[in-house]
């Protein structure tokens, strides 16, 4: 991407030693403790984000992964200026987000899959008009962008209806258009496809990819759907308990955290006991799936082909969901 290389020297997002702590009230169960807490409230410091650091280059799409409560949304909120960091450094497009300068806010956007910003009772077109007024967009350029997005997402028949009459998926599409009308250079997408069906997820994914290509925008995306991450992100940052467990290529995540491969075997003469070759994960309809270590995979496959009458054999990386699960599990035990 040309834009990415042009600004490669200065990252679009720079995060160093970023820390956010919350004081949450704690009390024992029971009435006595409840009454006591009225007088003397005990709080405990929780580190939602614990000294994390990463750089994201202009034009990159990075997947931000972690289980619920890992600190993803807190980080996104700090980067978009909604939360004030306890300490550490965050720079987005050279701005300190918490200052919430107009020049900064003009260049970013935030999409939250479970919340709406468009006016519920109005057609999306009217809300877009309000967005134009708020961002003070030039009418001609605004119309061009709006119509282009409407066409890309096939929204022609929907933008005239009140938002409350739209389906969840349709609503998300009109929301995303609203969030991008001012052509932001940095996109913070928090679960943009949550609750959507597969077709709609794909549609939104390809729109994001397209926007990234067209405008060289930087995207930081959180999603529970690994399909989103696989389709869009070459790089992922995995966070757990506020700490970064992994930052690198998605393709290498498996190699680092899950040193296994799965071998699928279909025998010509029905099922047999293959436990001698590896750990049997499943066995159904004549197909047996084995888990073996990454290093042993070629040798096991050779033995299977040599010893048995094999109709079909595949060697695959384990599903990304399984890998992620292992990453999180390793995070609970401490980094590997």
């Amino acid at each position: 991407m040309p834009i990415a290389s042009a600004n490669a020297s200065q990252p679009a997002i720079h995060v160093a030693d970023l820390l956010k702590t919350f004081n949450v009230p704690v009390r024992e169960a029971g009435l006595k403790a409840a009454v006591q807490s009225l007088v003397h409230r005990e709080t405990r410091e929780v580190r939602a984000v614990d000294n994390i650091g990463f750089d994201i280059g202009a034009g990159e799409i990075v997947g931000f992964l972690g289980p619920n409560g890992a600190g993803k949304t807190t980080t996104l909120k700090m980067l978009s200026g909604l939360l004030y960091p306890t300490s550490g450094e965050a720079l987005v497009l050279g701005h300190v987000p918490s200052k919430r300068e107009s020049a900064f806010l003009r260049r970013i956007t935030m999409v939250m899959g479970n919340r709406n910003q468009l006016q519920w009772d109005l057609p999306a077109l009217d809300s877009y008009e309000l967005i134009r007024a708020i961002y003070r967009l030039e009418p001609g350029a605004f119309r061009t962008t709006r119509d282009e997005f409407i066409e890309l997402l096939d929204l022609a028949g929907l933008v005239n209806k009140p938002v409350r009459n739209l389906s969840l998926g349709e609503r998300m599409k009109v929301e995303i258009v609203g969030a991008l009308l001012h052509r932001p250079q940095v996109l913070f997408l928090d679960e943009p496809t949550i609750g959507l069906d597969v077709t709609m997820q794909k549609r939104i994914r390809s729109f994001i990819a397209d926007y990234n290509q067209r405008y060289g925008a930087t995207v930081l995306l959180t999603s529970h759907y690994m399909a989103d991450v696989q389709a869009l992100c070459r790089r992922v940052v995995v966070i757990h308990h506020g700490k970064i467990l992994y930052d690198g290529e998605l393709a290498r995540l498996g190699a680092q955290f899950d040193a296994t491969k799965t071998i699928g075997v279909t025998l010509k003469d029905g099922e047999g006991d293959l436990s001698a070759y590896g750990e049997v994960i499943s066995s159904e309809d004549g197909r047996v799936t084995l888990r073996v270590s990454r290093a042993d995979a070629p040798e096991v496959a050779t033995r299977l082909l040599r010893d048995l009458a094999v109709a079909d054999l595949t060697i695959e990386d384990p599903p990304i969901e399984d890998v992620i699960e292992r990453v999180f599990a390793s995070g609970s035990e401490g980094p590997p």
């Binding site: 919430r100 020049a103 806010l105 956007t109 008009e129 708020i134």
Partner: protein, 267 residues
């Protein structure tokens, strides 16, 4: 450029109003309901007034047409509150509770302005219109000379009163940053606001002070009504202006303080 920035709240409110109006105009039933409500409120108000003046010819120095002026201003201000102030504050409370305020805070415009003008209930304008008609009728009944100067004075007092009430609402609403559920303030305010049907001067001293500085109904209703009935002294107007300016400055500071709490900057 600075002039444009000062007018920015009005420009934005105009946009929101236009779009809200275009949409609401489709729902004639809402209009009919509002007309019905306004008619009942007006009818009750007039009946009570007639009842009072069947017993006496004046109430603490206020004649019947003068009290009709107070009622007109009360309805007019009620219309403004119902049209702009209350819907925006209720929505702000909701947004704070549900976390959707985030969208406002990521917009490159003044967040206080945005939360104050984005929801406009146009049918409440019926109340505004009713109030205006009552005022015109009452002023005509008063007889005497009514000049442009008096009208301007009323306009000024009314704007100051409106700003004061707005500040009062926003101060309470910002409390939602600390105490999440404060929905009851809507009913509470409506109850207290009813006391503005009568000039606050008829109430005992402690209540007068409360209705002036605690819940600023005196500035919102009685003072503009005084402007129309030739009772407004320069001292009172100066007090209304000074109070409005001080309250706006405090509201601004309080709003920012609340936001700092919301973003965890004060912790």
């Amino acid at each position: 450029m600075a002039g444009r920035e000062v007018l920015r709240p009005i420009v934005l409110a105009g946009r929101f109003f236009r779009i809200g109006a275009l949409n609401e105009l489709q729902y004639r039933a809402n209009f009919a309901i509002q007309v019905f409500q306004s008619a009942i409120a007006l009818g009750t108000g007039l009946a009570v007034l007639a009842l009072v003046f069947s017993q006496t010819t004046e109430l603490n120095g206020w004649s019947e047409p003068e009290l009709l002026v107070v009622m007109g201003v009360h309805i007019l201000m009620g219309g403004v509150i119902g049209m702009v102030i209350q819907p925006n504050m209720v929505r702000l409370m909701e947004d704070i509770r549900r976390g959707s305020l985030d969208f406002i805070l990521t917009k490159p415009d003044d967040a206080q302005v945005l939360v104050s003008v984005r929801d406009i209930q146009i049918w409440q304008a019926v109340d505004g219109l009713t109030g205006a008609i009552v005022i015109v009728v009452a002023v005509a009944q008063l007889g005497g000379a009514f000049g442009l100067g008096q009208a301007l004075l009323f306009g000024l007092a009314f704007v100051l009163g409106g700003l004061t009430i707005y500040c009062f609402w926003l101060i309470l609403t910002v409390g939602a940053f600390w105490v999440v559920r404060i929905d009851q303030i809507v009913e509470l305010f409506e109850g207290v606001y009813q006391s503005g049907r009568w000039p606050v001067t008829i109430y005992p001293g402690w209540l007068q002070v409360s209705l002036t500085f605690l819940v600023p109904i005196a500035f919102a209703v009685t003072v503009p009504a005084q402007a129309l009935t030739g009772r407004l002294t320069p001292g009172t107007l100066a007090l209304a202006a000074g109070f409005a300016i001080a309250l706006m400055a405090f509201t601004r500071w309080w709003w920012r303080f609340g936001l700092r709490r919301y973003s965890g900057a004060s912790a």
